[in-house]
Amino acid sequence: MRELYSQLKQLFPLGELTEQRQDLAFVTVPQEHLRSLLLHLRDREGFTHLVLLTAVDWLEDNIFQLTYLLTNREQQRTLGLRVMLPRDAATMQSIHDIWPTAATYQRELREMFGIAFPDSPRVDEEFILEGWIDIPPYRRDFDTLKYAEENYSQRPGRVTHDPAEHMKQKLYPGGT
């Protein structure tokens, strides 16, 4: 993987390489270089399979991280590309013409994180949610408990015990 990284480094401005396993590594790419890097990896380096495209919400740093996970089937190794997007009005160029499956991931990210992918097929249609009215639910500033309490009637009588405290009370009533 180091070898591949040093080769790529000569062509693209890449961030640090994070090697998680011998056959799994992650690298950060600037947004504008992602597309050419994906094409390079697919056509020249044999990373022909897009395993997944997912997002992480780094609320404190005010960024979204997109992870494109690619696999080289022949060499059985996986490379993850990280793209950092500003969280406000996050927009990313679509890669559905490189891997058609990406359109589905992008639809999901559009709905669950509110990341815009202009020109991706059917990206603005509802994917999983129906009639959603709040901010996208996978964003970390979405308070799922508050939403549930406001929207769904709860049955009274539900209590939550701290397991440690509860067992202490049960096993040693009155003890320390």
Partner: protein, 213 residues
């Protein structure tokens, strides 16, 4: 409203154009009415005895609990020996089992299915998710109390309840029906506005008739 539900002009295969208004043409919008019992109690008791022995379940698995119904359909637990069987369409079923968590998206389909079943019909909530939300108590897309949306006759607790618990639940359901307490469809008809208001509060894109059958 969805495109396929809007009023539009359609050209038939024979070239004749005609107007279609799906909500009025395809559905009956009349609200449900309370079905009175038989003219004499002993006849009603006979009916209830017969109903109790024919529990036909709509094979609609809403959540993970649906997996517990499969062993009941097979020889190991064999619910068929109790007169309980599963049917593929709401028209042939009289028991709707909400098997586990119910997302608002599935709730919409469950309501449609329930309304298409023929009276007398019963609803059983399976697992703690239908009772108080269970492990999905803070989820943004599952309902927490099934009886706000459908007239539940019986809850079977557990996460998930074992097939044995379901068999015991079927026996309890039979007792309820035989005692004349399986009046869910009538309760639904009596409190129709209350149920509809609750349903519409959680289903934000309501694009179906208020009652469809």
């Amino acid at each position: 409203m969805k495109e396929e539900l809007q009023k539009r002009v359609i050209k038939g295969p024979d070239g004749v154009e005609f107007e279609v208004e799906p909500l009025r043409d395809y559905y009956c919008e009349a609200p449900p009415t309370v079905m009175p019992g038989a003219y004499i109690q002993i006849v009603e008791d006979l009916f209830n005895w017969a109903r109790a022995e024919s529990i036909w379940i709509l094979g609609f698995g809403t959540g993970c609990g649906a997996i517990e119904m499969r062993p009941l359909m097979t020889p190991r637990f064999d619910a068929y020996r109790y007169g309980v069987q599963w049917r593929p369409t709401p028209r042939q079923a009289n028991l709707l089992m909400i098997s586990g968590y119910l997302s608002t998206k599935t709730l919409k389909r469950a309501i449609r299915s329930y309304e298409q079943m023929q009276s007398p019909k019963y609803v059983v909530g399976l697992g703690s998710c239908t009772i108080n939300g269970g492990m999905y108590w803070d989820s943004y897309n599952t309902i927490k109390r099934l009886d706000d949306y459908l007239p539940v006759d019986l809850y079977i607790a557990g996460c998930m309840p074992r097939p044995e618990a379901l068999l015991a639940g079927f026996q309890d359901m039979k007792k309820l029906i035989r005692a004349g307490k399986g009046e869910g469809a009538n309760r639904y008809a009596e409190n129709f506005d209350w149920y509809k208001a609750n349903q519409k509060r959680v289903i934000h894109d309501w694009d179906m008739p208020d009652y469809s059958w």
